[in-house]
Assembly symmetry: C2
Homo-oligomer: 397 residues x 2
Amino acid sequence: MVASTGMLASCSRDPDAPAGVPSNSEPDNEPLKSSVVSFDGAHQAGIATETQASLNLIGFNLRDGVDADGITRLMRLWTEDARALTAGETPLGSLEPEMNEWPANLTITVGFGPRIFDIAAPGKKPEWLHDIPAMNRDELREEWGQTDLALQICADDPIMCAWAMRHMTRAGTDYVSTAWVQQGFMNAYGAIPQGQTPRNLFGQVDGTVNPYEEDEYAEQVWIEGPEGFAGSTSLVVRRIAMHLDEWEMLDRASREEAVGRTLDDGAPLSGGEEFSEPDMEAIDDYGLPVIDRNSHMARAMPPADHPEQRFKRRPYNYNLPPEPGSGELSNAGQIFFAYQKDPDVQLTPVLKRLDEADRLNEWITHIGSAVYWLPPGTSTDGSGDTFWGEAVLSGSR
Amino acid sequence: MVASTGMLASCSRDPDAPAGVPSNSEPDNEPLKSSVVSFDGAHQAGIATETQASLNLIGFNLRDGVDADGITRLMRLWTEDARALTAGETPLGSLEPEMNEWPANLTITVGFGPRIFDIAAPGKKPEWLHDIPAMNRDELREEWGQTDLALQICADDPIMCAWAMRHMTRAGTDYVSTAWVQQGFMNAYGAIPQGQTPRNLFGQVDGTVNPYEEDEYAEQVWIEGPEGFAGSTSLVVRRIAMHLDEWEMLDRASREEAVGRTLDDGAPLSGGEEFSEPDMEAIDDYGLPVIDRNSHMARAMPPADHPEQRFKRRPYNYNLPPEPGSGELSNAGQIFFAYQKDPDVQLTPVLKRLDEADRLNEWITHIGSAVYWLPPGTSTDGSGDTFWGEAVLSGSR
């Protein structure tokens, strides 16, 4: 299911992965123990990488007085430490070699918020690097808002994921403080059949429409230039509360109508299987559309004249204790990650369309939003190791 | 490492498990997908079961007016639903068969707080079923205190663990409301070598001293009688904050001295390997004890004249976003689970000794405490399915 995007070459999760030697010495018995996802490459890892089980997404703000030089120093040290941790090596300054031993497909991905450009590279800020326009149905909470930087830490082992968060937070503490942490989860490695699209907490198969092949990533995700930007992308994080108490009052037919897909296997209600093209013209015995025009699928689909409204989805679930006094049985939802070249062109028109009408809206509320530039991948070739955002940060000084 | 405690018979996690047919059809490729831990048996699952990756421990309080009959009805329905969910079947009243498909070693374990006995079986309350005596160093928070009931939900898949919490909470909502949820994690299946004792967030090998064989469980854990109590046990949950910021200021030698074991492999500082007996009389070149008399290990060890001070440990880690305004980089620690026949005799003397002196105390604080009776296991043999606590609840009416 996952294309050979290069990033996955040495990741032993994918049995069909192309060249590259999985570092795991006992693949049958201990699939995770020393599985490694390559850190360096044309793009950062954690974007095209198959979704790992555990997520810590940390929003950081710069401490007062941190200037362009400080940002550069932080990126240099964070890159070095992330390169070591993801390889199962011990970063300089860590007294805990035993905690770094088994990366379990750890990826660490950095994102720059607008203030990083304002301070360190003002002329270079991408035009799309701004708040997603306010939507009518938004109930955004400041606690899940924009930050100066983000680290997306994912691993198939929750202890590794926690440990990497601890290490990176401590490593950066002279420069940044934590604004928020969004913790999420996806199926454990091996918990569902390899390559199967996972289900969200509404029970829906979620994530079918996505780039899978390299040419799809090239078209939708990887920014082409200019220098310092080639190979980068954008990340939009939307925190979406899912109202399970109300959702579970619906019968199965109503749930399927709201989305436009079957619960059983995620196939469009017009027939076929999960990856079949939906037939939006199909009519039932009563002359009504089989797929409701206001179903989530119908509204999210790029219209024929806007094929560019596609992007990479990489969602995580969250499930926290119920908020005291809310009367709700759950406090659950989705941390929606969308990666694309340009959110203004690709994601935002879709969000607007869904905001106007989407039958699913009755059971979901967007409560957080943030946008980041994800610098290109790094390299250890040639004249020395490069660090996150180096070309953009250095060029400005 | 794990003994043949019966409970594990059909759990395909343990390659050395005795009789019992693992339900997993593709063990090499998909170790988790349909791994099942037997629900029925002499004891509840989730106690001797090898620790799964994800924990939701939910503390519930009875809604006003729920009486002995209500408690019995709740136990009957919760038992039926837990039996179905842990087997990968769909409980009555669930519209989500797809979410129940892959239990991933799901266990659901119930605990009764003192009020259950006060209301439903007043003459039968175990003498030890009361708050753990206050310790000098306790900083207990009401939000992590005693509740009427607890469900300990563990699975190797975080989505299954979340889903089971959702289902069981909803199933019980006429009778109970959620007081708190303690969410924890342990290494993912396969993330560290099979049978290896895991590390806590201080990087220490944690959990070495434990019953492993059936006779050790019989001696330390399983209550022998009277009727309705045979096969039951007690659970003490202590929530222990771990002050990582201060801990990480220590060099490795100081960390090892505080615990009395090496960080490398958890061996006692007097030599050998993890499971070697510590030599408390060993003296170094300076004439000082090799294992500090106030190290955590030395203080936690049962004294020679009190060999009964042993119990089953089954700890989970927690790692939440830092508390705003705390100035701390982490909000992490351990959810400490101790199972024993009688906490007054087995656990509490150890807690008191540690409270008086333990070099580790400088870096940890107990912030939560609760005690539960865990009813015996259930059965589907003979004249019909039994439910949690049936003999105790029925006998009182």
